[in-house]
């Protein structure tokens, strides 16, 4: 038998209010594994070139993998994939919490959502059944209230993913949230759901997941749990300080993007660090389903203007709403994080877009006239918080900021102040001091993203081996490709990417093999990742992406870092790209060659 999978993908047509079921073929399991692999395959064949991302023709694909909901470490995650309304290309986000495994327990590996409901609805999926339910009474509600109402109406143990008002209002930097604070879907997943009049999906299931060789699988995963416990990153740093352990490390390397990437050194870093968070505000550690790492934070700001009880903030959020906006007040950041969660906003793009607006304000491209009197300067925590709410509600200047930093910067006639790649705001590492990471940004399939090849790992942390962060040699370019393929494969399992600090490709391959009963070597496992990466690239190429889009903002390619340990450096992307394309087997325009597609068995598509 093939284990690990439920074996079924649910297709939901919102226009017709009909559901159908696809069996998953063994060919797909071998070629794409699951997760991002299945999602890329479906999106490529079902969402043709030029599809309007907010039209009924776009599809929202929710997918788990063969290891989701098993004892494999950190197997609680799932992903959403779609054509992004922010970037016009492949959009994807991985979400933690408990929803993904529950979908499998309810009888499905994934869901393809198509069409548009006439009126707001939510889906109630339980043990193989699907119900379309009226959501008129919860449309407009914040995420926590939405979850509570739906649990009351369905099952107190149901897991709920939903959008907040931001997704309903088609904010292009909105996201999907489950269990109140687990977010995912950079590039406007929330808006795609909103455009379909789909407020939420509740799931509950009592089925189980059987693996092909339970005892062998158990012995392997037990060893993996031990590896994670022993590893300094997954066993100590992340459990103790959360992802925000990075704040001080990254700032000390002079690559903590500050005031919209104007410098890489933030004087207030320690005030917003993981250490400060743990010391002053942390009340509980939290974990996603079946995760021994538990990097989640539960935080309380007990009094003052920013009083809040919330999960988070994690590293990227602390940076985006903090250093990026020049804000060194951790209480204000926690409050803004909470607001993003309840309205359903994606914190990286939200913070980065506000930072762009702050730069525009300081340079005089906009004035208090456009901001309705707000002094939108770097460091103004209250202005930052006010902007979060205005973006979520599309009020005043928030209506323009809701389109993301690229559209905003173009609208004020200064496109150079938007720090994006392919329309997606860059995250919390200034690549001028980590050049491989710069190439990873430039060639990420979803645009400005750190999670398709986390080059910080070799360039700063020395995992799997230390690479000189300022060099742009062949070895480093090969590492970018290798990590992109490896991450794509891990994202098909679906396991949390943080496991990569402790586990090796052969570990993933052996978990996958013993779970499914389909033998994968480590090389075959990474080859699936390469196939997925190329298939996603084909989606981008079809939408018109070429080498000229695989570039960083001019500030990072041309303006040397002004101060700190990375002073004087730029990212010479132009020099790196031809080598990268050659290593990838792509032509000089960044298009996968026929030979490469033949080698990866992608020609028939």
């Amino acid at each position: 038998m093939v284990g690990g999978y439920v074996g079924k993908i649910l297709r939901v047509n919102l226009t017709k209010q009909k559901a159908s079921i696809h069996e998953i073929s063994k060919e797909w399991m071998v070629k794409y594994i699951g997760g991002e692999g299945f999602a890329a395959r479906i999106l490529y064949t079902e969402v043709p070139k030029g599809t309007d991302p907010l039209s009924p023709n776009n599809k929202l694909i929710i997918m788990t993998g063969p290891l989701t909901g098993t004892l494999a470490p950190s197997s609680g995650r799932y992903l959403v994939a779609f054509k992004s309304p922010l970037t016009g290309i492949w959009g994807v986000g991985h979400i933690g919490g408990h929803w993904g495994p529950e979908l499998k327990f309810a009888g499905f590996d994934g869901i393809i959502i198509e069409g548009r409901a006439e009126k707001p609805v939510y889906l109630w999926i339980h043990d193989g059944d699907v119900e379309f339910r009226d959501a008129g009474h919860i449309w407009g509600k914040l995420v926590p209230e939405t979850e509570n109402i739906i649990r009351e109406e369905t099952d107190p143990e149901a897991k709920v993913l939903s959008i907040g008002p931001a997704g309903e209002k088609l904010v292009k930097i909105s996201t999907i949230i489950s269990e109140c604070s687990r977010a995912g879907g950079r590039g406007g997943a929330g808006a795609v759901m909103g455009s379909k009049n789909l407020k939420a999906i509740a799931v509950r299931g009592t089925g189980g997941i059987d693996v092909a060789y339970p005892d062998k699988f158990y012995d392997i995963v037990k060893e993996m749990h031990e590896k994670i416990r022993q590893n300094p990153v997954t066993g100590q740093a992340l459990p103790k300080y959360g992802t925000a352990v990075l704040v001080n490390i990254i700032n000390q390397h002079g690559i903590f993007p500050t005031r919209n990437f104007q410098t890489g050194v933030f004087p207030g870093a320690d005030k917003i660090s993981g250490e400060t968070l743990a010391e002053k505000y942390l009340v509980m550690r939290r974990a996603c389903a079946f995760c021994p790492i538990g990097c989640g934070r539960f935080t309380v700001v007990p009094s003052g203007p920013y009083t809040v009880i919330t999960e988070g903030p994690e590293y990227e959020t602390i940076w985006a709403l903090g250093a990026s906006c020049g804000v060194d007040n951790l209480e204000a950041i926690a409050k803004a994080n909470y607001l993003c969660n309840i309205y359903g906003l994606e914190t990286i793009s939200t913070g980065a877009t506000i930072a762009t607006a702050m730069e525009a304000f300081e340079r005089g491209y906009i004035t208090t006239k456009e901001t309705d009197g707000t002094e939108l300067r770097f460091g103004n925590a209250d202005a930052m918080i006010a902007m979060v709410e205005r973006i979520a509600k599309r009020e005043g200047i928030g209506d323009l900021l809701a389109e993301g930093s690229k559209v905003f910067a173009e609208k004020v006639s200064h496109p150079e102040i938007s720090m994006n790649v392919k329309g997606l705001e860059l995250p919390a590492y200034d690549p001028r001091g980590v050049k491989g990471h710069g190439l990873a940004y430039a060639t990420s399939n979803r645009g400005g993203c750190h999670l398709r090849a986390y080059m910080i790992s070799p360039e700063i942390l020395g995992i799997p081996k230390k690479l000189d962060r300022f060099k742009e040699n062949e070895e480093k370019i090969e590492m970018v490709k290798y990590l992109q393929d490896l991450f794509a494969a891990i994202n098909s399992l679906v396991l949390c990417i943080f496991t990569v600090f402790a586990l090796e490709p052969k570990d993933y391959a052996s978990m996958l093999s013993s779970a499914t009963g389909i033998e994968f070597t480590d090389k075959e496992f990474i080859r699936v990742g390469e196939r997925i990466y190329n298939l996603q690239r084909l989606f981008l190429v079809r939408e018109g992406i070429t080498s000229k889009d695989d570039r960083l903002p001019a500030r990072l390619e041309k303006e040397p870092m002004p101060e700190g340990p990375a002073k004087g450096h730029i990212v010479p992307i132009e020099r790196m790209l031809p080598k990268y394309y050659r290593i990838r087997g792509w032509d000089e325009d960044g298009k996968p060659t026929k030979e490469k597609l033949e080698e990866l068995e992608l020609v028939s598509l």
């Binding site: 004892l71 269990e179 299931g205 189980g208 009340v283």
Partner: protein, 164 residues
Amino acid sequence: MSSRVLILDPLKCTGCRICELACSYISRKSFNPAISRIRVITWFEKGISIPIYCQQCDPAPCLEVCPTGALYRDSETGVILWNKDKCIGCKACIAICPFGAIFYDPKEKLITKCDMCNGKPLCVELCPTGALSYEEALRIIDVKRREAASKFYELITKLTIVGK
């Protein structure tokens, strides 16, 4: 009779539910929280998770209500076990358990409850934070008492130093 007990430190529970899958694996070789004998209840808005499992009560309402003697106490370990052959599926034990810790497997149509894995509970072994532990009751009380006293100790030390 062993006096070891399965004890929870709720401040250490991250809500990861690894215990649930450890339990379903050890009992049925499957990964399924619905047949697990330990279940975690979480308040997501408050970040609080509480695993619920059999407390091996003494006297135990389930033992008293069981009409056929299918539920019985192991004289050596004090753990309440269950004999499938004597069970008539009346579910009286489920109805009377004050913790909701006797579970029901709808597929197999059988009750299911914690049997302490013959003295080596796998949920404890795989719990990544030590929120669950399986120890002698007296030892646990010793630790807790010392922890409580330590708070006074710290306070008094501070006061005497300040006083001098």
